[in-house]
Symmetry: C2
Subunit: 299 residues, 2 copies
């Protein structure tokens, strides 16, 4: 089941000049005690970025009023959707897929020179990321990400202005060894394909699996922020520590409990080490099979 | 050793009208991989608050260039100081004390109706907190805090508009069972006392120990945000999960390693359960005794 709600979509500028592209930010989000803190801080950053459209996708079968209200208060042009995981790994895969489906079905509302960026709700973003990097992307921009899991920084390896590899603590020989926060993509390129995250991404990293479907090669990549001796980091893959979640009276305060984790989420945590057949077997055992999720997006 | 650096202090408005008080935000901060992410997001929120003065205090013997540069970029009026812990618990006690010393020594630059708020760098802050709550404080304002350690929300207990106690998961019978993020104080009141955190706060909670030195009673408290059925939460006591801190080449990127934790920090973690004598013995064994820290603040 997919549920969709669109707000303020009518205010999208559909004749953006090339030098003032719209930045389309895609953010999966999930109910948890820390979520409103994270989303509030992110919204208060994004509202300072000009010409930005925010697609927020709830990990649930319906949207949450607390989030709708938060988004409305920011004044940011946005669409707020919801979908469950559909037998996919619980890392925002189904949510990002739905956002992309929405953009493909509404591509006339955007300009093909616009730029898509995947921004999780608990990361940290420097405002300069948006205008100095993302908005300048023509095909695919890449840059350093702070604290991406294994190291203090991961970054594209650049020689003579060209990306020749990756500085990464884990498997640096991947073709696209970038964190989800470390790249942005041309809108026209993305919506001209059906690229998505599916069980066929088993045995692979989500970033690499998605990017390979866009038929990109390293020579297409535009590196940012590598030139100077003191290289800035403009985005950090931060995580918010889980709050203790003891039963406690909310006393009328607008807070969110933690949702119990689906069994399939635990099983899929190592999908980058699985074969497609192993992933398919888990999906069949624990959730709806992926083909059931191919509903149309409805406005 | 205390080191102080003042920036843009000359631009403080010293004739603030009572209805447009300056909000003085005090933030202790410490080098760690996640710090720049947290401080960037906080700075990008605070720059949207009108008439705000930010006192940031580094937990170190000198200030950090990365933080100076960040503060300068925001355009926020601020002072950036540094101090080590001086044999006190490593929870920002010495840093907040130094900020208060600075304000007392520079009280002519502020208006006595201004308001002081202690804001840690990894919390989440809704912009409404500043203008709807903090700036309206006359003596001491109190409000709900999300995810404050043991529960999803802690809040003042209000009857007929008066604070009569606290909704708190842990020791709700304390006189001031509020989180550091849950109150703001009149500037004139604070600078007319020598209230601070010292080893005499052993056996007590830092908030309660400090507030008792201001000779406040519950009838002085002004509660905010308790009136409606759907009570908003405008600040969350969020924590950023520590990044793995393996040795890794920074490749010229501006990132920060985690500083090793002092032995005294571990020993003082349970100071709220110690006697003064126990705390004094630890301070003598592991660090400079507190009396050595009574240096003057120098501009």
């Amino acid at each position: 089941m997919r549920y969709i709600r669109t707000e303020r979509a009518d205010s999208v500028v559909d004749s953006t000049p090339a030098d003032n592209k719209t930045i389309i930010v895609i953010t999966p989000t999930k109910q948890r005690p820390e979520r409103l803190a994270d989303l509030t801080m992110l919204a208060q950053t994004l509202k300072q970025v000009g010409n930005l459209y925010w697609v927020v996708v709830e990990d649930a079968d319906k949207t949450a009023d607390l989030v709708s209200d938060l988004l409305a208060r920011t004044g940011i042009n946005h669409t707020y959707l919801a979908t469950t995981n559909h037998g996919l790994p619980c890392r925002g895969w189904a949510q990002r897929n739905l956002a992309l489906d929405y953009l493909r079905q509404n591509k006339d509302k955007f300009n093909e020179k616009d730029v898509i960026y995947f921004a999780d709700d608990d990361n940290g973003y420097d405002l300069r990321l948006f205008d100095q990097y993302i908005r300048k992307v023509d095909v695919m921009g890449v840059w350093a990400v702070g604290i991406p899991g294994n190291a203090l920084v991961e970054a594209p390896k650049v020689e003579n202005g060209k990306v020749v590899g990756w500085h990464s603590a884990y498997l640096p020989d991947r073709e696209f060894a970038t964190d989800m926060a470390g790249f942005a993509l041309n809108f026209g390129l993305v919506v001209s394909t059906n690229a998505s995250w599916s069980l066929k991404c088993a045995g692979n990293f989500p970033e690499q699996c998605f990017l390979k479907q866009l038929n990109l090669s390293r020579s297409d990549l535009e590196p940012f922020g590598w030139e100077s001796d003191k290289k800035p980091i403009l985005v950090w893959h931060r995580q918010t520590a889980p709050a203790p979640d003891q039963p406690f009276d909310l006393m009328g305060y607008m807070a969110e409990y933690r949702l119990p984790q689906d069994e399939i989420c635990k099983k899929f945590q190592q999908i980058h080490l699985m074969t497609y057949e192993q992933a398919e077997a888990i999906a069949k055992e624990y959730g709806p099979v992926e083909s059931e999720s191919k509903n149309e997006v409805k406005s």
